[in-house]
Symmetry: C2
Subunit: 102 residues, 2 copies
């Protein structure tokens, strides 16, 4: 089975980390329960001047599973009144080359 990798990069201004992580944690808790979710790694930039200070890399079983996870329940979480929307750059990828140290 060829899995897919969803990479979502977030623009989080310095000082907004707490707000971002609260929302991200809630979305992540939801995603982890969805069929097809395999694993994730959330990365934070070591420097404060990166355009995308957070990058989430998530393995899914398939594009279809990932799409199914973005239904009404998901939208309800991210569109609550007063919810700050962090700009993001989402994309769906496949691994075409990997390797590790000998």
């Amino acid at each position: 089975m060829a899995t897919v990798t969803y990479i979502n990069s977030f623009e989080v201004p310095p000082g907004r980390d707490e707000d971002f992580l609260a929302l991200w944690t809630e979305v992540n808790a939801y995603m982890r329960k969805q069929p097809g979710y395999l694993s994730h790694r959330l990365h934070r930039s070591l420097g404060s001047d990166a355009r995308y200070r957070y990058v989430n890399v998530v393995q899914w079983e398939s594009v279809d599973r990932w799409q199914d996870a973005h239904g009404e329940e998901f939208r309800a979480i991210v569109t609550r009144p007063g919810q700050h929307v962090f700009a993001s750059l989402p994309g769906m990828y496949e691994v075409v080359n990997d390797g590790q140290a000998a």
Copy 2:
């Protein structure tokens, strides 16, 4: 030991994949021999309209090791006369949260 994650996203126009992969493969072969390199995954976008069609995610032992790997020999590879330069968005990250399916 806290490792670091280097994420480099590349703008590769459709049709330029062969040129990009030739250069990337050469740089990767060099990097894999450097002290501190741990592993990598090169991702290619499933859609052709992504801004960043390739995203390389690389684990290094430390920022210092990564910096040491970007010396003269590296520059000689990427600055050859006639070498096309692919625009990229590089950043150094740390993993702040990870998990997997139950």
